[in-house]
């Protein structure tokens, strides 16, 4: 009896103990993407073990493990974000449905998403000096490069981004989270001639032509968000020299977690105008310089800080030949930007972004007659913006963004201004003007992104802004829906309310009206995209309803009773055939406004009916590139002399630009780019308007055919 007992215990132990020790658990389930499609080959396993399986053709997986207790289940799949989940293993079968999110891989150069374009790679630098000098007709300018995409209208010959029947000030510029109110150099009514920031100091840009999320406010039409360079991984020094510019820059890692990027550019256009034998009226040739210093610090595994400093200065002098008088215009502008950005991971999927910035802008304008100082206009304007912004982000299957921003804006004007608006004439007396304005804009916003079955995704948001000067509030609900019909086809719809407050001086009781409401626009966008490998086609239709626009008033100066609309469609096609890559953007637009001094609903300057840009990039042999760009735009409306209000249009605008570049390496780690740009190859004489509507007095483009060449050297 006793023996049997020992034996049985022994048996039990020998046979069952291992079973207890090895008692196995089945782990099974299915791996799919957010649209529910099977992810064949996904690697599902327990962290720290080899126990796992690959998902089969239906996305199903099943494996057995001897592990017990708490473990992390990990799912890995190429092109998707890693999935990690804590599971408890205790012998019972564990069943799981796993859905993976695609890694947003931004392709080469510029990729296009619904209503938005992005440049830059997830990591690293894509807008290299090479790409910059390769964009024809862009004069190494980011705004010009963006203008070759649909939804942006060509109005005159500046860099200004007029987006889908919106005025140039309706597109907001952001750098590392800081709002930039003076984004153009050599400012003009149509924006300016160049963007303020050189592409050299940017890592990537995001551009939206409408329907953007609630994070972005105080903008009626578009958003251009730029990100500066990150921590450099290796030392690079670059030098550039062209017909009108000199530049130097570099990236220097100081320690593993600390580095600086810097650059300096100087541009002096005299040589360029002389070389091209262009007759001009400059008394001072356009001259500008900019300096940039950016310190990046990864202070821990979880966070990084960036300090960004930027300064830009430009000046120009032009002699004016008006029918009744002659004079000189002199202008100079200075921009400064200081920004501190902190980007901290609170956990695996939640992030905190904080930034503190100060932007300064100063401008001096002077119009005098000849040698004798008779000021027709002599105005100094300083703007200062101090901003603090905080953003909390949680990225799970429901992504949330919550944040707020406080902005202080100070404006100062001092000098002589003509007493009759828009009339520059020595016979018109000037008024002395000396005013200072200060206002606060506070905002909060909440944005949510969520995926649903049937390949639907939704982005919804709300935003609230309050301006201290007018004591007015703005409430903006936003919504966008997207439906992936098939692998290559996506349909989307976006709508929302957008508000924009005025510059502080417009609330001045003497010159403006303290009771102005913020301008308002409603966007309705519907879009279809077909995308496969190296090609894409997108068609997007939109309607924008404008209200509370600025309208002149006899006794109140201005009131908020202006209104209007813009409707149209954008078409975009991009395709590459090995060595040849091409893209065509076409926009149709009909915009009408009853604002400013308009006697009714009429075409504003930026009502450009047809807008076409075609870019062709050929690389016949490696490292040799030829890029050609053709731009066409309907002429802008004007009021002919003695004719009806805005009843005619100037001749159509068109221009062909070509850029040839060649990359050569003189020694290890060296890259030298030689480039030659020919602007306006066909010598088209574009006309932008007529003095007093008189067709015998055209306002012409200052450029004939223009050659530009240079070299950029990197080591």
């Amino acid at each position: 009896m006793k023996r049997v007992s020992v034996n049985s215990i022994g048996l039990i132990l020998v046979f069952f103990l291992p079973v207890v020790l090895y008692s196995s658990t089945i782990i099974k389930g299915r791996v799919a993407n957010v649209r529910g499609e099977a992810l064949t080959g996904a690697n599902v396993f327990l962290e720290g073990t080899l126990d796992g399986a690959s998902a089969d053709k239906d996305g199903n997986f099943k494996f057995v493990t001897e592990e017990r207790g708490e473990h992390y289940l990990r799912v890995k799949m190429m092109g998707y974000e890693d999935f990690r989940k804590n599971i408890l293993i205790k012998g019972e079968t564990v069943s799981l449905e796993v859905s993976l999110r695609e890694v947003v891989v931004e392709g080469e150069g510029i990729t296009v998403k619904a209503s938005s374009f992005t440049t830059g790679e997830g990591s690293g630098v894509t807008l290299t000096p090479l790409e910059v000098v390769m964009t024809p007709g862009a004069a190494a300018d980011i705004c010009w490069a963006i203008k070759s995409f649909p939804g942006v209208q060509q109005v005159e010959e500046g860099a200004g981004l007029f987006v889908r029947g919106g005025e140039v000030t309706e597109t907001k510029f952001i750098l590392d989270g800081a709002n930039v109110y003076h984004p153009y150099r050599y400012e003009s009514p149509t924006g300016g001639f160049f963007g303020t920031f050189t592409p050299f100091l940017l890592k990537g840009t995001y551009f939206s032509s409408g329907g953007f999320g609630a994070e972005h406010g105080n903008a009626l039409s578009g958003v251009l968000s730029m990100e500066s360079q990150d921590l450099p991984s290796e030392r690079v020094i670059s030098l550039g020299m062209g017909l009108a510019n000199l530049s130097a820059g570099g990236a220097v890692p100081l320690r593993d977690n600390l580095g600086i990027n810097f650059s300096g550019n100087q541009s002096n256009t005299k040589l360029m105008f002389d070389f091209n034998n262009i007759e001009d009226d400059f008394t001072e040739y356009p001259f500008s310089y900019d300096l940039n210093l950016n310190l990046a610090w990864r202070y821990s595994e979880k966070g990084r800080a960036k300090i960004f400093f930027f300064r830009e200065k430009n000046n120009v002098g032009v002699s004016l030949q008006e029918p009744t008088w002659g004079g000189i215009y002199k202008g100079n502008e200075t921009s400064n930007l200081y920004n501190l950005l902190i980007d901290h991971a609170l956990s695996d999927n939640s992030f905190l972004k904080f930034n503190l910035s100060r932007t300064g802008f100063g401008k001096e304008m002077e119009i005098t007659t000849g040698e004798e100082y008779i000021p027709i206009l002599d105005l100094e304007n300083t703007d200062e913006i101090n901003q603090a912004k905080i953003l909390l982000e949680k990225k799970t299957f429901i992504s949330l963004k919550f944040g707020g921003c406080l902005e202080q804006r100070k404006s100062y004007f001092e000098g002589f201004v003509p007493s009759e608006e828009d009339t520059l004439d020595p016979s018109v007396p000037s008024n002395y003007y000396d005013r200072e304005y200060k206002s606060y804009l506070s905002s909060i916003f909440l944005e949510e992104t969520q995926f649903f079955p049937y390949n639907l995704s939704l982005n919804a948001g709300i935003r609230f802004d309050r301006d201290s000067k007018s004591e007015k509030n703005a409430f903006d609900p936003r919504l966008s829906l997207s439906w992936k019909v098939a692998d290559e086809i996506t349909l989307s719809f976006a709508t929302g309310t957008f508000h924009q407050f005025y510059e502080p001086w417009l609330y001045d009781p003497d010159y403006g009206n303290p009771d102005l409401d913020p301008m308002e626009a409603r966007h309705y966008i519907i879009s279809g995209t077909w995308e496969k490998n190296s090609g894409m086609i997108r068609l997007e239709g939109y309607y924008k309803d404008y209200n509370k626009l600025l309208k002149e008033h006899d006794s109140l100066n201005y009131v908020s009773s202006g209104f209007g609309y813009a409707k149209g469609f954008d078409f975009f096609i991009k395709k590459s055939f090995g060595k040849i890559e091409g893209r065509v953007a076409y926009s149709y637009l009909k915009a009408r406004r009853n604002w400013q001094d308009y006697p009714g609903l009429f075409s504003p300057d930026f009502d450009i009916t047809h807008n076409l840009t075609a870019v062709l990039n050929i690389s016949p042999i490696p490292f040799f590139n030829i890029v050609a760009r053709y731009s066409y735009a309907t002429g802008k409306p004007f009021t002919p002399m003695g004719g009806d209000f805005r009843s005619d249009r100037v001749p159509s605008y068109y221009k062909v630009d070509v850029n040839v570049s060649y990359l050569h390496s003189f020694f290890t780690n060296n890259q030298t780019v030689f480039y030659l740009a020919v602007n306006n190859v066909t010598k088209r004489n574009n006309i932008f308007g007529y003095y007093n509507g008189d067709e015998n007095e055209p306002i012409e483009s200052s450029y004939g055919r223009l050659y530009y060449f240079g070299v950029s050297f990197q080591m």
Binding site: G10, N43, E47, M78, E108, L130, N533, P622, Q671
Partner: protein
């Protein structure tokens, strides 16, 4: 007696279990190295594809993660080169190889083999995306220089450099003759290299195939054949060398 036996049994079982758990990263790496060589011999994509998930799992063991990531990068790099004609897939694998090698270097920055492999991966990526010329071109050179500085006697560094030079235009410092010089140096260094255990020691056979390719490029088929045969001497199961030999044979230039 029985009880003692029982205790002994239990102890043995426990040790067995313990030993199994402790069959650490090192021994897995040794196994995987053999598997990779076998897959390479047959240019067997499916076999390579089975190895990648194992390495991914192994990278979560919390030990020698950088080395596991090196082998993961190597594995995906192999898949990418075998699948080179299937542009889309090949590009996907080279991207994951890049990701893995970057992780490896992040974990250990002074390992020459990682920098050399990174350089080669960037070269393949450049083939898919010529517009990266500016960025990758520079990094390719820097990584290989760094590898040479770290381990001037590592044959794989010269193997990769030499093979890279074979496909680099002369104006960028490439060319057949430069490639041959580097590959010959690699071959010399390989003669001195011993089994490196868990560390990479592949390439002894490959170097002769690359040399053969270089001579084929120079239209010196008989020398090419000599090197392909040499590769087979080093590794009689080397499928690629056999294939290349047969190819030259059928072209009718097999003159012996």
């Amino acid at each position: 007696m029985k009880r003692t036996l029982l205790v002994l049994l239990i102890t043995l079982i426990s040790i067995g279990i313990y030993a199994e758990e402790k069959a650490t990263v090192d021994s897995h790496i040794l196994t995987i190295k053999t598997e990779q060589q076998e897959a390479l011999n047959k240019a067997d994509v499916e076999k390579f594809k089975e190895i990648s998930p194992k390495l991914e799992r192994l990278s979560t063991f919390g030990d020698k993660e950088w080395l596991v990531n090196y082998y993961l990068a190597l594995n995906n790099y192999r898949i990418s080169t075998i699948l080179y004609e299937d542009k889309e897939m090949s590009e996907k694998y080279i991207e994951s190889a890049k990701e893995a090698i970057q992780k490896s270097i992040e974990g250990k920055d002074d390992f020459a083999d990682s920098h050399a492999l990174f350089s080669s991966i960037l070269g393949i990526e450049l083939g898919f995306k010529p517009q990266l010329g500016m960025i990758n071109g520079m990094k390719i050179g820097k990584e290989i220089e760094k590898a040479k500085k770290l381990e001037p006697e590592n044959p794989r560094v010269y193997l990769i450099d030499g093979n890279g030079k074979l496909y680099t235009p002369a104006m960028f410092g490439g060319g057949v003759d430069k490639a041959i010089g580097l590959l010959e140096k690699a071959a010399e260094l390989f003669k001195k290299e011993e089994n490196r255990g868990i560390y990479p020691d592949w390439g002894k056979d490959e170097v002769y195939v690359f040399l053969g390719n270089a001579y084929k490029e120079k239209k010196e088929d008989s020398t090419a054949i000599k090197f392909y045969k040499k590769a087979l001497e080093v590794n009689p199961d080397y499928g690629w060398a056999k294939y290349l030999l047969e190819e030259l044979d059928t072209l009718g230039s097999y003159s012996q």
